[in-house]
């Protein structure tokens, strides 16, 4: 083989870009564009997701109320006339409903608002089914107001509420058996007269869930409380156990099969599908140990087991980040190994451990699937007791409440589910921001 036979590229000027290089540069540009497009897709997906949730859910924080004076007739509410709450409790919500219907009708007439095309029955349907129960609760709590005329603020029905939020229109009402255009027009007139107003809805955040027919009354109170209880359980169990396990594995464990097995176990547990933890909770905590269903203690235990790997991994990383010189310094002064760890290493690793714990808690807060299996989907109307007994009372949880509401037929629950998601995301945002701030504030470089 001689050099003469090999192709020698023709001598070319650097200023003239060859066709081949032009082609290669075009392919370079294309490749770059793919990369940029990928980023765009990711960012757009995030934006679309946030817009979708916020646009659907923001209105859940506002609610439509009807304000009218109601005469609390003694003959109906307290036939015995002795204001004994126990006896008055015999009058059910069905006894209150006609009272409200009558009050509304009279007030509209008094205000000169035409009820054109709206039957008294339809008129009653404009008030939430929850309203009689609210009035009843108020009366039972203050028996002395019976016989007076009290100005009541009552929830408007779901469709009326939807009309003021733009979810229900006159056109859609034509096709809807639950509401007629005449009702909506009347609602419009009532709004003009100041009887109907839409304002911030605290009950959505503090109130209990409501049944399928009354989306306007459904609130997140129990779910938030349940999630909060579970987070307490997780924090109280996962943090000490996780830190203890990490200290052992990082500082004391000899290299042997037993510790290897633990290490492999932890990394695998971190990747086990969450639903499997639900099965574990169902089989062990509920069916075997007989703990109650839907209880925050069971949810908390399941979430603890799920969160442990996260906390252990974060804790070990921050223990490892403490330089050996600190340990040597303590040991050199005659401290025991245990003293060097608890007096020097652990305090230095604390910010990292805390950050990891918060991130683990945030994950646990958003977890849904395992909670479905341990019965947290159940419909719960009663607030749990204060801890520790409350840990054993049935509750819901924020993410499960979202799921629960998506399974209901009334479209108004879509708004509720999205609103609950906003609350969940706000909590998560807050927790993650706290983790970021902690990290920034206490980050130490050795």
């Amino acid at each position: 083989m001689t050099d003469a036979s090999t192709p020698v590229p023709p001598k070319s000027s650097l200023y003239a870009t060859s066709d081949r290089v032009k082609r290669r540069n075009r392919s370079e540009t294309r490749f770059r564009a793919y990369g940029f497009a990928a980023i765009t897709v990711g960012v757009l997906a995030l934006i679309l997701l946030v817009i979708s949730i916020v646009s659907n859910g923001a209105s859940a924080f506002r609610q439509t109320y009807i304000t009218i004076p109601v005469e609390l007739t003694e003959a109906r509410l307290d036939p015995a006339g002795n204001r004994d709450p126990a006896e008055m409790a015999r009058v059910t919500t069905f006894g209150y409903a006609p009272l409200l219907a009558q009050a509304l009708q009279q007030h509209l007439q008094g205000q000169g608002i035409s009820m054109e095309g709206v039957t008294p029955r339809d008129l009653m349907a404009m008030i939430s089914q929850e309203a009689p129960a609210q009035v009843r609760a108020l009366v039972l709590a203050n028996p002395e107001i019976v016989g007076q005329t009290v100005t009541m603020e009552m929830l408007a029905g779901g469709r009326i509420d939807g009309y003021f939020k733009g979810r229900v229109t006159l056109e859609s009402a034509e096709r809807d058996s639950n509401v007629s255009p005449a009702q909506l027009l009347l609602a419009e007139r009532m709004a003009e007269a100041g009887l109907i107003e839409t304002r911030f809805n605290w009950a959505f955040i503090t109130g209990p869930d409501a049944s399928d027919q009354r989306p306007e009354a459904a609130g997140l109170g129990i779910a938030i409380l349940g999630s909060f209880y579970m987070m307490i359980v997780v924090l109280v169990l996962a943090l000490p156990i996780g830190v203890a396990a990490s200290i052992y594995l990082e500082e004391f464990a000899p290299q042997n099969r037993f510790t290897d097995a633990i290490e492999v176990n932890i990394s695998n547990l971190a990747a086990v599908p969450s639903i499997v933890f639900g099965i574990l909770g169902l089989a062990i905590f509920i069916n075997f140990a007989g703990l109650p269903q839907s209880a925050p203690i069971v949810g908390g235990l399941v979430l603890t087991l799920m969160t442990l790997p996260t906390i252990i991994i974060a804790t070990r990383a921050s223990l490892r980040a403490v330089p050996p010189s600190i340990r040597d310094a303590a040991l050199g002064l005659g401290a025991s190994k245990m003293q060097s760890v608890f007096h020097h290493v652990l305090p230095l690793a604390a910010p990292g451990i805390l950050t990891g714990t918060i991130i683990g808690l945030a994950q646990a807060l958003g977890e849904t699937a395992p909670l479905l299996l341990i019965g947290m989907v159940a419909f719960v109307r009663e607030f749990p007791d204060a801890p520790p007994e409350g840990f054993f009372d049935p509750t819901s949880a924020l993410p499960v409440q979202v799921y629960n509401w998506t399974q209901r037929s009334d479209p108004a629950f879509v708004e509720r589910a999205s609103g609950a998601t906003i609350v969940l995301l706000v909590f998560l945002l807050f927790m993650n921001a706290m983790a970021v701030i902690l990290r920034r504030r206490f980050e130490r470089r050795w």
Partner: protein, 486 residues
């Protein structure tokens, strides 16, 4: 005695022990703490731990075991024909518990006297009404057997709780006494305390193993029961999923597995190119500012709970796909479909793939990039021909991990994929997955002795085995890859 009081009492005993132990140590040294073997606090700590730890351990074990024991005893009281009638033991047992709790509550509120509660008979009193008046709702009238069981339940519970309180408190006192008696200036308190702390640490780290054992045991035992009721062959190779609670169900795994894999495939089709190209762009092209904005935004996707993605699939992506693709193109009219779940799951996996790929691409040494640029390669040629081939094993590992995530994902498919178990190729059709059916079979009122409920454990075990296999394989590949450049 309520639990919290028992715990507080034990802790109070411990605290007293701490003070006593410390004092005794100091006085045994004649007030000169320099001649003590350990610091005085260690003597106190020793007494505290000896009093508290065994007592609390017994308490926890007791709490876990007592319900199971009581349940067994009470169950014997319920005649078989009752079980036949209501179809299920667990339903009766929950009635029993409610009645028992109701009686307790009636006592508390004064609706019944202690004597009345003990002597109450279903023949003379309408228990349902009595209990309803204090806010305990019962589904049925209470029959004599249930009431007897409930009474037995109450006695056992009371006896159990008394015994537990006694046992725990006595143990705490004994521990205190023993440790106190051993406290002396030459006692090696620090070593003892440190040994105790070390065993607590070891105990904590075995929880990981216990969890795995718990997972495997809980599923293996129930799966064994399932295979007694339903042939394993038909489960693994059956192509039909038609559960029916009257019996004669077809519980074939294949349609569920098909749905799972199909959705996983589509999710990877979205996540792998987008995630990989994002990682490449961020690692090789993006400027500092761009990285500072885009990277956190992509990572935010990873922090969003799956329920939110599920909602996104349900209210936005599903209807959008149906209105703009499936219906106009004649692929179907379902808003929940393989496509919906797949795309949304793909979005969820983007940050997962991209951050793993980012790590892996950054692990490729700079010298290889230099070598390629030095030969006149463009950036994209370097990425495609040097970096990606070098990073390939790591990226394969990342994709396997993503696949394992997708297979085990539950909420997105529950809300986005549908519930119909079909073996179809149409991606716009609703299909179902293993996880959807686990949720479906185990939520609501379930009878844990029927194959329709037990099948969920077999599904869970299958899921666990698949994801575990994928994870181990992926971790192995990634570790091998890391070693290559260390």
């Amino acid at each position: 005695m309520p639990l919290i009081w028992i715990i507080l009492a034990v802790l109070a005993l411990g605290a007293a022990g701490y003070v006593l132990g410390r004092k005794r140590a100091v006085s045994s040294a004649g007030g000169d703490i320099r001649i003590l073997h350990s610091l005085p606090n260690y003597y106190g700590m020793n007494v505290f731990l000896t009093a508290v730890v065994p007592a609390l351990l017994v308490l926890v074990v007791w709490l876990l075991v007592q319900p199971a024991v009581i349940q067994r005893q009470v169950t014997q009281l319920i005649p078989d024909n009752d079980i036949m009638e209501s179809g299920e033991l667990s339903l009766i047992m929950s009635d029993v518990r409610r009645v028992a709790d109701g009686l307790d509550r009636a006592l508390e509120q004064g609706a019944l006297s202690r004597e009345e509660a003990r002597m109450i008979r279903s023949e003379f009193t309408n228990i349902r009404e009595t209990l309803a008046s204090i806010g305990v709702a019962l589904g049925d009238d209470v029959n004599a057997d249930v009431l007897a069981a409930a009474q037995r339940y109450r006695t056992l519970q009371t006896t159990g709780n008394t015994l537990m309180t006694a046992a725990v408190l006595i143990l705490a006192a004994l521990g205190l006494g023993y440790a106190y008696s051993r406290t002396h200036k030459d006692f090696r308190a620090r070593n003892t305390v440190e040994r105790a702390v070390l065993s607590i640490l070891i105990l904590a780290s075995t929880i990981a193993i216990l969890t795995t054992v718990g997972i495997v045991l809980s599923m293996v035992l129930e799966t064994r029961d399932f295979f007694h009721l339903y042939p394993a062959r038909e489960f693994f190779f059956g192509t039909e999923w038609i559960p029916s609670f009257e019996g004669g169900s077809h519980l074939g795994l294949l349609p569920l597995l098909w749905g799972t894999l199909y959705i996983t495939f589509i999710a990877l089709l979205v996540a792998v190119p987008v995630g990989l190209f994002s990682a490449i762009y961020l690692a090789e092209y993006a400027g500092r500012r761009m990285r500072g904005i885009a990277k956190p935004m992509i990572e935010v996707l990873a922090g969003i709970p799956t329920i939110v993605y599920g909602l996104f699939a349900l209210i936005t992506v599903g209807p959008m796909l149906r209105d703009y693709f499936a219906e106009p193109l004649g692929f179907g009219t379902s808003s929940s479909s393989v496509m919906t779940a797949g795309i949304v799951m793909g979005i969820m996996l983007i940050p997962f793939v991209s951050s793993l790929s980012d790590d892996i691409i950054n692990a490729v040494p700079q010298s290889l990039r230099d070598g390629s640029y030095g030969l006149g390669a463009t950036q994209s040629e370097t990425v495609k021909q040097v970096i990606l081939p070098a990073a390939l094993p790591g990226i394969v590992g990342a994709i396997l991990l993503a696949a394992s995530r997708a297979i085990g994902e539950t909420m997105i498919v529950v809300m986005g994929a549908g519930a119909a178990a079909t073996l179809s190729l149409n991606p716009f059709e609703a299909m179902t997955t293993v996880t959807v059916k686990i949720v479906g079979q185990l939520t609501g009122d379930t009878d844990f002795s029927s194959p329709e409920a037990l099948v969920a454990f077999a599904l869970g075990l299958t899921l666990f085995a698949i994801t575990l296999g994928l994870n181990i394989l992926a971790l192995f590949i990634v570790r091998k890859y890391r070693e290559q450049y260390e």
